[in-house]
């Protein structure tokens, strides 16, 4: 390893990216765009639900119940149906997410202190949203029951479940998505910078020029890894700053712990990027390779869907995924102040991944020589 030679490589690599307007854009725009889109679009809450009400009773208590639905912040558009025959079309055409059917004799039942029934019909095509709407509805009905009991001078339910959400007391979804996005966007940047670099040089013939120079494959590898780390770290700092300052996600843990873990994470991502790049002859192949890696890596990271529910095989495969190791740590450090030793315990596999992928990449750099 020769310092000045590697330095020349690093400078060349940084200049090649920064001097080209298109490469500069490719580095700045996608993260900004993804940050904006994901933070506001990838919401796991269900809001703005359309609810249809078929009030067969028409009495005062039925109106009261319907009003409680309409008054909740989740149901923004509540409209009335007039006949049983309207129920199916309303759901079918997705005009309503749910239909509340209040039986005849509801008010009479309430007045007499008997059981009164109302029915909730949900659109099962959106199974997840349907479950959440059902939860909201149950809560509304429970509160209504408690109020009725109080009015009638009866005691309410004996056991009450009091739930507290630790680490994110208001269940603000941004607190969940934004830290995850730090992991995802850092990966996008790390892969974009690295995966194209070797393939581009192969396409233009400059890679041959490097191979006939006195540079060893390990020097070339170092010359590709370092600039990617520099650019990746710079972008990650920018994304973390945006998370804390713009999205107001708290960081209760140490920023240094986060920085060390993030650098290690980027190291493993750069390893994957260079590995993909070393396999490809053209930039087109490199882009396809990057996507082939990105999509499963996102799915097997525990970002959108919990890993625990996946089949054993996939859970095992996820151990090779840098994001799977990093996401719990970034959430842990930011939201619950995970200390350094615990974070280190969770991220050490990233070092293994980085060493393995970089070794493979270095091996494949010489592939053309065989």
């Amino acid at each position: 390893m020769n310092g000045p030679r590697i330095r020349a490589l690093v400078i060349k690599e940084l200049l090649a990216v920064l001097r080209d307007r298109k490469s500069r854009m490719a580095l700045i725009l996608p993260p900004l765009l993804l940050l904006a889109v994901f933070s506001f679009a990838a919401t796991l809450e269900v809001k703005n639900v359309d609810l249809a009400v078929l009030d067969k009773d028409g009495g005062k208590d039925a109106v009261e119940l319907a009003q409680r639905f309409a008054g909740s912040p989740y149901f923004t558009r509540v409209f009335a149906l007039h006949a049983q025959a309207d129920v199916a079309p309303a759901l079918e055409s997705s005009r309503a997410m749910a239909v509340l059917v209040i039986d005849e004799g509801f008010s009479r039942g309430v007045a007499a202190g008997r059981q009164a029934t109302a029915q909730l019909i949900l659109d099962g095509r959106r199974s997840n949203a349907a479950q959440i709407v059902e939860g909201y509805s149950e809560l509304i009905v429970t509160r209504y029951n408690e109020d009725l009991a109080r009015l009638a001078g009866q005691p309410g339910a004996r056991t009450v479940l009091a739930a507290r959400n630790w680490f994110n007391p208001n269940l603000d979804y941004l607190w969940f998505t934004v830290p995850n996005l730090i992991g995802m966007l850092s990966m996008v940047v790390g892969l974009v910078v690295t995966s194209l670099s070797v393939a581009r040089e192969r396409e233009l013939g400059t890679f041959d020029q490097l191979l006939v120079s006195p540079l060893s494959p390990w020097e070339i590898l170092a010359g590709k890894t370092l600039p990617a780390m520099i650019l990746g770290c710079a972008e990650s700092v920018f994304i973390v700053a945006a998370a804390i300052l713009l999205f107001r996600v708290p960081c209760v843990g140490s920023l240094w712990t986060l920085a060390v873990c993030l650098a290690l994470y980027l190291f493993s991502v750069v390893g994957f990027g260079l590995f993909i790049s070393s396999l490809c002859n053209t930039q087109q192949q490199a882009i396809l390779g990057t996507f082939t890696f990105m999509i499963p890596a996102t799915l097997l990271s525990g970002f959108a869907t919990p890993l625990e529910t996946m089949p054993q095989v996939l859970q095992a495969a996820a151990y090779a995924n840098p994001m799977r190791h990093f996401l719990p740590v970034v959430r842990g450090v930011m939201l619950k102040g995970m200390p350094f030793d615990m974070a280190a315990e969770a991220v050490w596999p990233l070092a293994v991944i980085a060493v393995a992928t970089l070794a493979l990449a270095g091996w494949f750099f010489r592939r053309g020589l065989e």
Binding site: R5, A8, I11, R19, V212, S213, G368
Partner: protein, 580 residues
Amino acid sequence: MTPPLVVATGLSMRFARQDPPALDGITADIPAGRVTGLVGPDGAGKTTFIRLLAGLLHPTQGGLTVLGLDPVTRADAIHARIGYMPQKFGLYEDLSVAENLRLYAEVRGLPPDEEAETFRRLLDFTGLEQFTGRLAGRLSGGMKQKLGLACAMIRKPELLLLDEPSVGVDPISRRELWRMVKALAAQGIGVLWSTSYLDEAEACDHVLLFARGRMLFTGEPSELTGRVRGRVFQVRGIGGGRRAVLRRGLELRGVIDGVIQGRNVRFVLADGSSGLDLQALDAGPRATLDPVAPRFEDAFLDILGGGPGGVSVLARNMAPKQPGPEAVVEARGLTKRFGGFTAASGITFAIRQGEIFGLLGPNGAGKSTTFKMMCGLLRPSEGQALVDGLSLAACPGAARARIGYMSQKFSLYGTLSARQNLEFFSGIYGLTGARRRQAMQSMVDIFALGPHLGESADTLPLGFKQRLALACAVMHEPAVLFLDEPTSGVDPITRREFWTHINGMVERGVTIMITTHFMDEAEYCDRIALVYRGRTIAIGSPDELKDEARGPGAPDPSLEEAFIALVERSGPERDARTAA
């Protein structure tokens, strides 16, 4: 006489207001039934002219009719009646030869009942009938061009536009392309063949000579060649170095051009020059000055005002190399197998210090494979490649530090400025501190890169790109320079400048290995290895190769004729051996 197919009057094209025009007041005709050569250096406006004819660009000024139609308003009608083959013809590399033809037949709307007959005719014409199932991406450069030509001719065109069809094509395929084009012209088709290689201009019936957007000459090539008659000489029987003779000659007043031709040197004198002083050339006691027949290239350089001088500032500033071992570069039984296919087998040669060694051969003959093994880009299956006595396999770093490498793509970093490219290449060759600054400064001075230092390499004019690439390759003063088709697609003047530097460096003791498809360039070599079907079929000086090919049918073969004869002679012999 039939009316001309193309009539251009005062045709001008300007891409941006501030730039000089790409074409400036061109008035020219293209007749039917003849091959018209569109000749000129890079940036002359050849491609622009062709694209205007094809209706792909709209002229800024002037009149143009193609087949009696206006290409601005009637482009569709013209497209149906012309064939156009751009520099990079759009072959689909993942489709087979037959599939490419079928695709173009559909695109060009060939009636299905004519398909079989047309394909048979075109495949027969191009000699591709045995390869219909092969993927286009796996064809050699020459075969790709032939397939491109076939695709451009799907609907028998009235006018065929060919944009530099012979770049990267070996002499044998080039000759076949010419045979085809001549046959087409005989059928009454008008052919426009653009080229920056001037030996091709000579073969045309009619020539349009462009330079910097202006037309300098139109007419039969012999008419232009006639202008330098009596001014072209060959110095024969040279004692001592012919490179030194060339250098001295080019510095003489009245000499406008000079090239090496095997063991002789050819000079062109300026109009009205009193003659060449053999004494001043210091060519030895037995040297003679013989008048020779002029070539188109001589006349071309004359009309452009002559080539560059003979002294290379690059070489002058270089420290002479200490005499080293007998052989500076050596191939010992180099063999390369890809699976079951043997691309090179038992290649052996030794290059002495200060020698220019040429690797020649048809496309796909194993020339590039051998070249790559020599510079360490491919690992030989058997045998050894040595540089300065060091094996490229055993001590790659040390051996590679002695090599300079320049490929036809120039391999510069396009987004980096000229200065940054110099900084980078000096850096990876381990130059630091004062030595680095010095090396860079001398490159900037020698190649006059000063005004372009801040420009991105991509936007440099081609001539400067080549200078920069050469500067990057020689900054660390390598003992050996590997050149892979370094002047492919480059015009004669830039090529001469390049060779001035190469000759100068060789005189300082640098050793050169070069691959090329152009026989003019091969004449500069001290020795040539002719590679065919993975073997060296001949090694020797250009004159020795010519002697070898000499026979009753060819009393005085050119190097190109020798090349073809030697390849053809070895072809059937080897086939017989494999059959036996």
